[in-house]
Amino acid sequence: MSRISAPPPQDLFDVAVIGAGVVGCAVARRFALAGAKVVLIEKGADILSGASKANSAILHTGFDAPPGSLELDLVRAGRAEYLQIREDLGLPLLTTGALVCAWTAEQADKLEAIAEKGRANGVDGLKLLTGAAARATMPGLSESLISAVEVAEEYVVDPWSAPLAYLTQAVALGARFVRDAELLKGTFDGDWTLETKAGPLRARAVVNAAGLFGDVVDERLGFAPEFQIRPRKGQFVVLDKAAFAHVPRIVLPVPTEITKGIVVCPTAFGNVLVGPTAEEQEDRVRATVETETLQALLKRGAEIVPALAGMPVTATYAGLRPATEDKAYRVFVRAEKRAITLGGIRSTGLSAALGLAQHAVGLHAAFGLPLTPPESVPRVRLPNLAEPCERDWQRPDHGEIVCHCEMVTKREIEAALDSAVPPGDFGGLRRRTRAGMGRCQGFYCNAHLAELAKGKVAVTPCAAEKDEDS
């Protein structure tokens, strides 16, 4: 636990990263690999307390990104690095490919331009297909499909294990992770002094990766606001594993100006998700689901893949995109204050995180603080949770199966609780192991899981009674 508690205030870090979303975790890793002494501070009880908790888990190619944009460069760089490191880190990849589907003549008219833009963006494997040809690659698609663009290299990943792996590697390289440590105020006097809820910290440079609070954190660091976060909610339904056989590929709609639109997509865990919506809201924290919206998603899913009609719902969730008044990534460098802001990473952050991290280390070079990479990099490998690969329950001596829907073993749960970056809350334990995330949503295992987590995770369902009794 020592590496994730607050450091003594006299320590001077090379880099303080603010926010442990997927971007902050990737940035912490890249700086640690570059040889920096890193501290990552997070407001929440666990990593992924913001936008990164809930997304579609697609590893994008950038085929539809604005040409010539920083976003395009970083999506491509991030994706390339993911593909290169993922086997070493034990991260899954579903090489599903995607179909951008035209259901109306108007949409069909746009496909040529979509393919053209994708090629111009340097993406390989783009093909215009007739409806029949597209359906030959995915027979479950509705017969009303007119035509499609195949984007062979859009893939699916595990959105929770990836950032956890980045941070675990950073921690293995000596980085500090401090949770429940909201940044309150930063002052620069040649170095940074950061006041946090977990105590003060000193650092030579800061990286703001605060996602949905990127603008707030910039202000707290004393910078005039350059952008304003305008949260955009996306709701999802997750369908039973029985749906997986019908959805071997990512089904994308023809995008509009505002959003990529409703996607039907397999998950790394063998489910299918339908979503997200795109709903502007003021609130940066509450990500509620609404019955009518969820019903509409179910209906849309069944229109796209008719066999999904009546498929049981496993889970529902909503995420908030850290959008701003501008579509572009809002990256700012204040060299004189040795500060980097990675803001407005709206809807491609999972794909671009490793690219953003490379970019941040590149920008840091201008600060005149040379870093010396470590001689060796410790090996880090996360346990596999993805369905197509071997799982712990298939190996001997796992103790017992605790979660029957997702087949999570006691050994896996204990390993997560004792890991280098242990879960800070019950949700974190679920994301690290998948326990309770299946079709019964804890009917059979929730109490058992809470018992195993007792005393090891701050917030479990049983603490209610403890409060009362003590």
Binding site: A45, V237, V238, D240, K241, A242, V285, R286, A287, T288, V289, E290, T291, L294, Q295, G310, P312, V313, T314, A315, T316, Y317, W393, Q394, R395, P396, D397, H398, G399, E400, I401, H404, C405, M407, D425, F426, R439, C440, Q441, G442, F443, Y444, N446, A447, H448, A450, E451, V459, T460, P461, C462, A464, E465, E468
Partner: protein, 409 residues
């Protein structure tokens, strides 16, 4: 021939129905009967219903909580049933070949007949599409009862109880037994889904029972802090620290859904014929996996009856033939058996069709065989009430079997 198999019969699930079947199979001299259950003990859902008496019908005395499962364990041991707990069946193969996971890893078992007796569970928050935040403290009765029965924990002090099925009142008892006073009990329908009579229990304890009230919001960041309900068009907040979603049972039939057996769209469990035989004649099913919830005593007897049919099926030659589906429309929710086979056993395991309706309806329920009405009755039909219609002796020879429910205008 039986030498190629791990057993004559494997039963998946060691609740009342599965063990009831195993005991009957052994009594009828079937040599090798294995019961597989993924939990550490037999008993199924009865293990956590600490306050409900079980066993009166099957054993002539009552048991509470784990004691009932221990009685099942003793009976099974006395009759030489091979009970394997901590064994989770992960897939069903076509010829009675099962993939089974246990603490040592994965193995394959096979049997001449397999019975699915995996029970039922309540529908969770997600599948009900409940709106709002997603904090800790939103759970089903089964989960709550597991906290209490297995770990002596109470996850909240003032829950809102959603639902008025039988199990909802069981939830009230669990709360009161731990000196926890629910904030209210709400029901979306204008009537209690089980029996109106039961509402005396919360009412006597001072818990408001609000009918025609819908859950429209849950608030809370880490834990539940409040909920909102809509009643008579008005939305009002309810201060609570938990939301208990009760009932709406659904068969635990993922194994069937993911195998060629499939599930019946009405019951969401495997469809069976009058002997408990599924679409694949190697597989049988019994208990709550057939329909959602019935009582423990009912499931035990159903398990015994279908167990007897399996024993007979093993002893005879010849197959049961093609299955005729039993048709029905809304507001009928499900019919068990949902299949009939001409070549079934001389004395079928199930004597009655069991029906459920989706909502309270008044009208004429009728059964047609080949377009001719052979049975009908006028009545008021309640959603959580078991409706029994005797299976006419010649029903299995019909080409078309259909239930109709004509609602009164």
């Amino acid at each position: 021939m039986s030498g190629d198999f791990s057993a004559d019969v494997i039963i998946v699930g060691g609740g009342p129905s599965g063990v009831g079947a195993a005991l009957e199979l052994r009594r009828r001299g079937v040599a090798r009967v294995i019961v597989l259950d993924r939990e550490p003990d037999l008993g199924g859902a009865t293990r956590h219903c600490s306050h409900s008496p079980f066993g009166m019908r099957e054993f002539g005395r009552v048991y509470f909580g784990g004691a009932y499962g221990r009685r099942l364990t003793r009976e099974a041991a006395d009759l030489g049933v091979d009970v394997r707990t901590g064994h989770s069946v992960v897939s069903l193969g076509m010829d009675g070949v099962l993939t089974v996971a246990n603490a040592r890893g994965v193995e394959t078992l096979s049997a001449r007949r397999v019975m699915i007796a995996t029970g039922a569970r309540e529908t969770p928050r997600s599948a009900r599409l409940v709106p709002g935040d997603r904090p800790l403290g939103v759970m089903t009765t089964g989960t709550l009862q597991s906290y209490v029965a297995f770990y002596d924990q109470m996850p909240f002090r003032r829950p809102l109880i959603v639902g008025t099925e039988l199990v909802s009142f069981s939830a009230v008892l669990t709360c009161l037994g731990r000196r926890v006073w629910p904030a209210a009990m709400i029901e979306a329908e204008p009537y209690a889904r089980s029996r109106e009579l039961y509402t005396w229990l919360p009412t006597a304890a001072g818990i408001p029972v609000l009918k025609g009230a819908e859950l429209v919001d849950i608030r809370g960041s880490r834990r539940v802090e409040a909920a909102s309900i809509r009643r008579n068009g008005r939305v009002s907040p309810i201060v609570c620290d938990g939301v208990l979603l009760t009932g709406r049972f659904t068969p635990e039939a993922a194994l069937c859904r993911q195998s060629p057996l499939g599930v019946d769209p009405g019951s969401a469990g495997p469809a069976v014929d009058q002997d408990g035989r599924t679409a694949n004649p190697v597989y049988f099913a019994a208990g709550n996996v057939l329909r959602g919830l019935d009582t423990g005593g009912w499931c035990f007897r159903e398990g015994r009856a279908i167990g007897a049919a399996v024993a007979e099926d093993l002893a005879r030659d010849g197959d049961a033939g093609a299955a005729v589906p039993v048709a029905f429309d809304d507001p009928v929710k499900l019919v068990v058996p949902g299949l009939l086979r001409r070549g079934g056993l001389a004395a079928p395991a199930l004597r009655d069709f069991q029906l459920r309706v989706t909502r309270r309806v008044r009208g004429r329920l009728s059964l047609e065989l080949d377009g001719k009405t052979v049975w009908s009755r006028d009545g008021a039909w309640m959603p959580e009430r078991r409706i029994l219609v005797p299976i006419p002796p010649d029903a299995a020879r019909a080409e078309q079997v259909r239930f109709r429910l004509a609602e009164d205008a």
